[in-house]
């Protein structure tokens, strides 16, 4: 379960660069909910994920994950609940470390790190099998540095790392936006598969309205730091891109109906 209550965040307050990123977001997700999030540039989608992950503290509001109030916790302390994949494939992995070392780091997310081996022998076999399921040939490159992988491979690896210890909440922040269309589709399919197999509560930001409709059981549209549309269940299944655009126009005011970023 995820409970967000009246989350607000303003960057550079009282300055010429003042920007209201989140303007009172309240949201409840049930376990197993897979929410897709759309909205124009600067609508607050990534900000909302960053607020949940604790990248910076929020101004007001409350964030409760699985019954624990994490509002005051720093980023690394929230990590046990969260799996995260970023837009930039470089962000999710340590380039100078081996594939297997990256996985081992993720395996220990939320555990105390001591003087036990960084990677155990048993883990090696486990990761080899796991990597084989990706079908990218990474299972034969266990000790290669991640920096040698392509963007798509790195993103697939990050996805694997994010879900290695089943997280309470998976945050996908436009994780296919930097990939070529074919690779993006592959990573997206993989994400959907992992999410449904593990019944993970997931929030996925996307710029692609078709993807937002196709995946998940719930769709949220954001604008100017607020949730302006929240569609669930059968209503979501029957959505069309046209509907979304109309809804967007209705909810946000006409002048935004032709927002190009929304269409891209």
């Amino acid at each position: 379960m995820l409970d967000l209550t009246d989350i607000r965040k303003t960057f550079n307050p009282n300055s010429i660069n003042q920007k209201v990123a989140l303007d009172g977001v309240t949201l409840h997700l049930d376990d197993g909910d897979f929410v897709t999030m759309i909205g124009g540039n600067g609508a607050g989608k990534s900000s909302l994920l960053n607020a949940i992950a604790g990248v910076w503290p929020v101004d007001t509001g409350k964030i409760v994950i699985d019954g624990t109030d994490v509002t005051g916790l720093s980023e690394h302390k929230r990590a046990p609940w969260l799996g995260r994949v970023f837009q930039d494939p470089i962000m999710g992995t340590a380039a100078t470390m081996q594939i297997i070392e990256n996985l081992a780091l993720a395996k220990r997310r939320g555990q105390k790190r001591g003087l036990r081996p960084g990677v155990t022998k048993a883990e090696k076999d486990e990761y080899r099998e796991l990597l084989a399921t990706l079908g990218l040939g990474l299972e034969d490159r266990l000790t290669e540095k991640v920096g040698l992988l392509s963007g798509g491979q790195r993103q697939a690896l990050t996805l694997l790392m994010a879900t290695l210890n089943k997280p309470k909440l998976l945050l996908l922040d436009e994780h296919t936006a930097a990939l070529d269309p074919r690779t993006a589709q592959k990573v997206l399919t993989l994400s959907d598969q992992i999410v449904s197999e593990n019944k993970l509560m997931t929030m996925m930001v996307t710029h692609n309205m078709k993807d937002a409709i196709r995946y998940g059981n719930r769709l949220i549209m954001m604008n100017a730091g607020r949730i302006i549309l929240d569609i669930k269940g059968d209503a979501k299944k029957n959505l069309t891109v046209r509907d979304l655009m109309d809804e967007f126009a209705k909810a946000s005011g006409e002048e935004l109906a032709t927002d190009r970023t929304l269409l891209s």
Binding site: A79, M97, L105, R113, R116
Partner: protein, 302 residues
């Protein structure tokens, strides 16, 4: 220009290189593994020697004195780490602040004298420059090879552990490290403490080797450390991929550095110009990857 005089100076250069190689391993850990240029080491490179010599003068056991020297270095690293993480001071400036304060601290340790000597006749010490041409176990080159090997073994073990991996991840990609639940501030502090502890060990050994500690002993130390790291990257970068071998390369880099310095001095360079030469050489080698990158970019755009 008698080749004999150069050859006779070589054992000394090798011993010095091995001692500074320990220091350079400390620099490698912050500069390459943690991705922090830590200038604390210029101060720590005198602190270790100061603690060790003063304790020996006061009749302490050699091993206790060396252990305390290492601990003193770790405290210096801790201070820089706190400046950097808890107080938000950029790493370079945090190191400079600690380095500056260490000048006073080092003088205080040394009883407010700029240098302090040890009497090798009455004090038991581990290595001495007087034995540099002796064939036997008391030869500082022999002892330094053993110390370096032990140090590399311990570091290799540590960086293969969970904490060690967390430190490497922090240096590689801080954001990823945080997302994996690693407290990157703690990781940086631990890294700085280990690095400065190693530098202080080198300092304690160097003071014994010279038979004295000088408050200016560490001045420009970071440049020598970086020079060793860069030389090892240039000379061994393509051959040494394993972490232990890389550390060995850094130690060898320091040895090469001191041999080159010895040759330059033999060719007649004024000793006072050495630091200028070292700094310029390091500057050029630091620039090479940048220039290479620009050339590659230019080729792509052409």
């Amino acid at each position: 220009m008698n080749i004999g005089s150069l050859i006779s100076a070589l054992p000394g250069a090798i011993a010095q290189g091995l001692i500074w190689g320990v220091m350079a391993i400390g620099v490698y850990l912050t500069y390459k593994v943690l991705d922090i240029a830590d200038l604390t080491v210029d101060g720590t490179m005198a602190t270790g020697g100061a603690v060790c010599v003063m304790m020996l003068l006061n009749g302490a056991n050699l091993w206790v004195a060396m252990l305390c020297a290492v601990l003193a270095g770790m405290v210096a690293g801790l201070v820089t780490g706190i400046f950097h993480t808890a107080m938000g001071i950029p790493a370079i400036l945090a190191g400079i602040l600690t380095q500056l304060s260490l000048y006073s601290v080092n003088l205080a340790i040394m009883g407010f004298k700029a240098n302090q000597g040890i009497n090798f006749r009455t004090t038991h010490i581990l290595i001495s420059s007087r034995n540099v041409k002796v064939i036997g176990v008391e030869n500082p080159i022999f002892i330094m090879i053993i110390i370096t090997a032990l140090l590399i073994a311990v570091l290799y073990w540590f960086f293969g552990r969970e904490i060690g991996a967390a430190l490497r991840a922090t240096g590689s990609n801080e954001r990823m490290a945080r997302a994996q639940g690693i407290n990157v501030n703690i990781a940086k502090i631990i890294g700085l403490m280990i690095s400065n502890g190693i530098v202080a060990l080198s300092s304690a050994l160097y003071a014994q080797y010279q038979g004295a500690v000088d408050v200016n002993m560490g001045r420009g130390g970071i440049v020598i450390g970086l020079a060793a790291v860069i030389i090892s990257t240039v000379v061994f970068g393509k051959v040494f991929h394993n972490f232990a071998l890389k550390l060995m390369g850094v130690s060898l880099g320091a040895v090469i550095y001191y041999i080159v310095i010895q040759i330059v001095l033999w060719l007649g360079l004024n000793t006072n110009l050495l630091k200028l030469l070292s700094a310029l050489v390091v500057a050029v080698f630091l620039a090479i990857p940048y220039w290479k990158g620009r050339l590659a970019k230019g080729a792509k755009n052409a």
